[in-house]
């Protein structure tokens, strides 16, 4: 249905070291997932601050920030590099932060920009997809990820 090609934009500051040395197995991609809960805290001076904590427990309605840190720790560039995060069922997707991503609202079969996606609503009618319909978020990199490059991808969700 939606074959989006080349729409992804590199968001990370990729160190532009091309000219990788001899082609070795790029078996050293690392991907670290972190989840933070975002809370607005009012300090003793009455000013509010947004705090991020890594929780072990959350409540329905809590706002979560998902951070994915990737790094090419290998010796060669990684071509066709992409990062996919399936949304835990208990999390309603809200937005990605600072970059363009592709979304799926059907379990990863079709991908596109969110306004272009539709879901089947009651009585079998199609409606435009909402953020909380998102089942997967994916970032696709146009350029190979050079050896030594790293970056961070972020999205937000709310505990249903």
């Amino acid at each position: 249905m939606n074959h989006f090609r080349g729409t992804a934009i590199l968001i990370a500051s990729l160190a532009a070291f091309a000219g990788a040395s001899a082609a070795q197995a790029a078996d050293s991609i690392t991907l670290a997932s972190q989840v933070f809960v975002e809370k607005t805290v009012t300090g003793p001076d009455g000013r509010t601050q947004v705090q991020l904590n890594q929780p072990t427990r959350v409540m329905p309605g809590d706002d979560l920030v998902f951070v994915l840190k990737y790094r090419n720790a290998g010796q060669a560039p990684a071509k066709n590099f992409s990062v996919t995060n399936p949304l835990p069922r208990a999390v309603a997707f809200r937005e990605t932060a600072g970059g363009s991503a592709l979304y799926s609202v059907d379990g990863g079969r079709n991908w596109g920009a969110l306004p272009a996606l539709q879901v089947r609503a009651e009585h079998g009618r199609l409606r435009l997809a909402r953020p909380d319909d998102v089942t997967h978020v994916r970032w696709t990199f146009r350029q190979p990820l050079p050896a030594g490059a790293s970056g961070k991808l972020t999205f937000r969700g709310t505990v249903r």
């Binding site: 070795q24 997932s33 991020l52 959350v58 329905p60 060669a76 990062v83 995060n85 937005e95 709310t158």
Partner: protein, 327 residues
């Protein structure tokens, strides 16, 4: 520990640029004890042209139990009740608005201010699921013994049964409140009960404070009847003297007042000594009634006239007439 996040404003702008709108109303909350498990995956092509995939670590987060509850009156308005009546029913709907299975303690209070009388609450009854109070079928509530346990989003009807004081005036209002409180605990929103949540997490008081109160009320509906008797005499000579042979037409006017209803109202009047009932003379609202003890409302028997007026609400009047002849 806590770190400030930067660039919130920028993020918001990005969201707008991509046309992402706020979430629609959420469905049922995630059940307490659910583990939110997040794993991402990187895919790429290695220098040998082989597709590769690298999973991230998995982050597991437990969903705590949110303690929240609502109680609302399920009555269409103040419930009419006669003075001195028993087992008068007020209905409430108790809903677990938290995300865990939770027991709720119920407490009635019939001595609230702002009303005209205090009903006497005799029992609290838990509905069997059909939404209607069924005497002898729905279970009587005993605090601490059968506190209703509700799944997330589940509701149950609660009935309060009261006796209305006999002295309560017509139109007087008597309120009763029902409070439901999470058995795990109540308090200011955010109050934490470590390890007491469903599924092993904490139980945390939600925005309701984990308790809720609703008010129902009775309004007394009473009715009175006043009976006025009058007589018109017609003597055999066309005058109005009470002499042997005179016909007396008695009128009995029943006037019902008040907001309530009188049931099985009947008027009876003995034929005076020294007079003879005139057969077939009973009327109700101007229409004749038979003397026989039969299906119609009137009868003459045992030297007395009786008319059954049935069930009448305040504001009605009924006029009965009958005739006798002076012996």
């Amino acid at each position: 520990m806590g770190m400030k996040i930067q660039g919130i404003a920028r993020t918001t702008l990005v969201a707008v640029a991509f046309g992402i709108t706020a979430n629609a109303a959420q469905a049922a909350p995630t059940v307490a004890g659910t583990t939110i498990s997040n794993t991402a995956e990187a895919t790429y092509t290695d220098p040998g042209g082989n597709p590769q995939r690298t999973p991230s670590n998995t982050v597991d987060i437990l969903v705590d139990e949110l303690l929240d509850v609502t109680v609302v009156s399920a009555d269409p308005g103040d419930m009419p009740a006669p003075p001195g009546s028993t087992n008068q029913v007020l209905s409430f709907t108790l809903t677990n608005t938290g995300n865990g299975s939770e027991a709720f303690r119920l407490t009635p209070n019939s001595t609230v201010g702002g009303d005209q009388f205090d009903p006497t609450t005799t029992s609290i009854v838990i509905d069997n699921g059909n939404g209607v109070y069924d005497p002898g079928i729905d279970v009587v509530y005993t605090p601490g013994s059968n506190d209703p346990v509700l799944a997330p989003e589940a509701s149950v009807k609660i009935f309060i049964l009261s006796t209305i004081p006999g002295v309560a005036a017509d139109g007087a209002r008597g309120a009763v409140t029902l409070t439901a409180a999470a058995v795990t605990g109540t308090g200011a929103p955010g109050t934490n009960f470590p390890g007491q949540g469903q599924g092993g997490g904490d139980a945390v008081v939600g925005s309701s404070g984990a308790d809720s109160v609703a008010t129902g009320a009775y309004v007394v509906q009473n009715a009175k009847v006043a009976l006025v008797k009058s007589a018109i005499v017609l003597d055999p000579f066309g005058g109005s003297d009470s002499v042997p042979g005179s016909i007396i037409t008695y009128s009995l006017v029943a006037t019902i007042t008040g907001t309530g209803t009188l049931t099985n109202l009947a008027i009876g009047d003995a034929v005076p000594a020294g007079s003879t009932y005139q057969a077939g003379s009973i009327t109700l609202q101007g229409s004749g009634l038979s003397d026989a003890t039969d299906a119609d409302a009137g009868e003459f028997s045992a030297a007395a006239v009786a008319v059954r007026l049935g069930t009448l609400t305040g504001g009605n009047t009924r006029t009965v007439t009958f005739k006798v002849r002076i012996n």
